[in-house]
Symmetry: C2
Subunit: 394 residues, 2 copies
């Protein structure tokens, strides 16, 4: 046969920094990072894209950035900041993508310039996508400002926007140049967004790290009460587990297996059919609860461990159920989520379930009747007070 | 300092096949490729995107594809073919991108399905981009139908579309799943497109392989006359040199050096200001001529070798100059190409020049006066008959 074989590998490397007051003049982290990659005689451009809600909660931020980068020897700041709406709308409406791309064009941002996104997971997903497709990839720096983006979405290699209401229909796999998790930004987060970001920590603990799950149980109330030390530990451990998983596995997801999507098949659909009124982390909490109880119903997870998961979710203040999660027929729209999940992933349907806390296993089909049963159990559990000692179901 | 370090590498691998009559039932290449990656019990979908001019020159192609994949055990063919305009318009007008993405959505094409692009470099760049951003990357199979796409653009890792008239402003680096170079498609190519595809072979010979340049000189007339054996050798050797370069160097172009862009800084600009009436390969021929004569003027390339390059270009039937390449002032629009080239690449301006045939070297600035002088020499050379023995210039 007449052919040429091509084989090569590409190395990727980046750091996720944990800090506070990133743009105060005393904090040299950002500057030092730029210095570490500086090439004599070359000034890179740097363009900021900021979540509108961050500009509202931190009205001095623009000024601080200007001051921080004034006379910086490594980068030339584009004075105009690109402000985009915060939340899922940033990923839903094409005009925000266009705004960033037009700014790249207008300000002559090149492949060796930086685009810095500051915001929640939505703004970071949007900014990352715009950076990834402009000039075949501009260096992206993420400044994550929500619990969810600091412990999960902001530290990984994915970006994306929605298309025709479908989550992340357009996107790429591109590692960031660097990530800054600045704890101070979290202080202005609403309680609802705060709590919602904890579900990804519970998720990763459930499939990867029983000891971290124990720790989460022991600190559940502190986490719900926004205790700083506990939250900082949780974010770092969660980020670490996510990053380990990415590096150790299949970073660009060429295979069909996606353990980090535990609990997500129903979550993505729930977000969509509620028009994103249910937050990602809330939907994930319900998805975790559903697949945990289902794991119990198929006999792989013990009743005790099932109850521990439900109790932790409730203690943190995460929801277990929702009117659209009241599944009574195989025609329920949530079930379309299974097909869409497979379509997005491709290949064989692969869903992670739990064997025990800290250990998952994969199945390739789900029993609709048992899913419905699990959803009914969760409707009851949602209403009843926390009953750690009592059996949950059936 | 409080941080997590992330490091990983991603392996890429694909084959470029040289064949004829890819979709005739006797040709099992495509089928065998699908078989080689088949997983028991899983049918992948396969969607075709075809260059409109191919559908005109090969009116039975659609039927042949249907017959080829009928009852195929590995893939389920999407019967509807997506037809997009051939040529640069495919990359210029957003509606073609949208058509492909909407087909992905409508037909439920997932990350483990295949998108097959059949066409010239333009349609392949467009299709590759659509595949790269849909669901964060659908497997792309390229069937290259022009000399240029078979010997250069189709075998590499880049895709892209134009934005606001800027070449490849949007795009990504994503290796294909596989490439088929079917010689039979080339038979219907216009002479102009044929000849134009040879300039990339001259380019890669000049910077990488003096022996291949000798061979090109010896076969120049056969190549211009569309001799099959000579063309097949040229395409394969050129593809090989391109692919070696990609694998051996910096596949995703993280650095500033892009040797394969020899002759391209003025070429991209010339294409744009002539509204793509000058073909990519023609513009590259003029760009090669310009940077070759410039190499001579700065004293790095001998007069003999300079003349050999000019003579080869002329013998093949490639242009040396153009009214817009009549450079007389630093305000000439072509010079803006230098800045845009740098902007697209980023970092330090890095231009390859020639030390000798087969060996390039990099410089970081060009002398506008000498560029103008080179352009005038080429205007004269364009008009004069081939004078292999006579000194070219000044
Ligand atoms: N790329 C990935 O790997 C990945 C992983 C998980 C989730 N995600 C995506 O992340 C998105 C959710 O991100 P999120 O949970 O961070 O929510 P979000 O980005 O939608 O932000 C929630 C709200 O908080 C606001 N906000 C952000 N920072 C704030 C602050 N410091 N103070 C006050 N308000 C602030 C935002 O403007 C928004 O209104 C979803 O689109 C989800 O799909 C991506
Ligand atoms: N991705 C890369 O690495 C890379 C490298 C070099 C060039 N390119 C791009 O490739 C494009 C040029 O590609 P091209 O030179 O193949 O031209 P093209 O794709 O524009 O095709 C030229 C013309 O030939 C027609 N055509 C295609 N195949 C034919 C056939 N077999 N018979 C008859 N007509 C046929 C097309 O419809 C079009 O009208 C440019 O956009 C250039 O920027 C990309
Ligand atoms: Zn998630
Ligand atoms: Zn080229």
């Amino acid at each position: 046969m007449n052919y040429i074989q091509q084989d090569f590998s590409v190395q990727f490397s980046y750091k996720v920094f944990f800090t506070e007051f990133l743009f105060s003049l005393e904090n040299r982290l950002f500057n030092d990072l730029l210095e570490s990659v500086h090439e004599e005689g070359i000034m890179r451009k740097i363009l900021f894209v900021i979540d509108e809600n961050i500009t509202i909660h931190f009205p001095k931020l623009g000024e601080q950035i200007d001051t921080y980068f004034k006379d910086n020897p490594y980068v030339k700041l584009v004075p105009e900041k690109v402000i985009v709406a915060g939340g899922e709308i940033a990923k839903n409406e094409e005009r925000f993508l266009t705004t960033i791309i037009d700014a790249v064009n207008e300000h002559g941002i090149d492949r060796h310039s930086y685009i810095v996104g500051i915001g929640g997971g939505s703004v970071l997903d949007l900014t990352g996508y715009a950076a990834a497709i402009s000039h075949r990839g501009i260096k992206l720096i993420r400044v994550a400002t929500t619990v969810l983006s600091q412990d999960d979405s902001g530290v990984g290699v994915k970006n994306g926007v929605n298309y025709k209401g479908k989550k992340n229909f357009l996107g790429t796999f591109v590692p960031p140049f660097a990530v800054f998790n600045d704890y101070h930004f979290l202080t202005t987060l609403s309680d609802r967004d705060w709590v919602s970001g904890i579900s990804e920590a519970i998720k990763v603990a459930l499939i990867k790290d029983a000891a971290f799950f124990d720790w989460l149980e022991q600190h559940a109330e502190q986490l719900a009460n926004r205790d700083k030390e506990a939250t900082q530990y949780m974010i770092k451990r969660c980020a670490e587990l996510h990053m380990d998983h990415i590096a150790g596995g299949d970073p660009f997801e060429f295979g069909s297996s996606r353990p980090l999507d535990f609990g997500h098949w129903s979550a993505h659909k729930l977000e969509q059919i509620t028009d994103f009124k249910v937050l990602h982390g809330e939907a994930v909490a319900m998805g975790i609860a559903l697949d945990t109880v289902y794991s119990n119903l198929v006999g792989s997870l013990s009743e005790t461990e099932t109850n521990r998961v439900i109790t932790l979710l409730k203690t943190i203040g995460l929801p277990l159920s929702h009117e659209y999660m009241n599944l009574t027929s195989a025609d329920d729209p949530i079930f379309a989520g299974l097909r869409e999940f497979q379509e997005h992933l491709g290949g064989r349907l692969t869903i992670m379930l739990l064997k025990s806390i800290g250990t998952g296993y994969e199945v390739h089909e789900l029993d609709a009747q048992l899913i419905m049963k699990a959803s009914q159990i969760l409707r009851n559990a949602q209403e009843s007070p926390n009953q750690q000692k009592q059996p949950l179901s059936c």
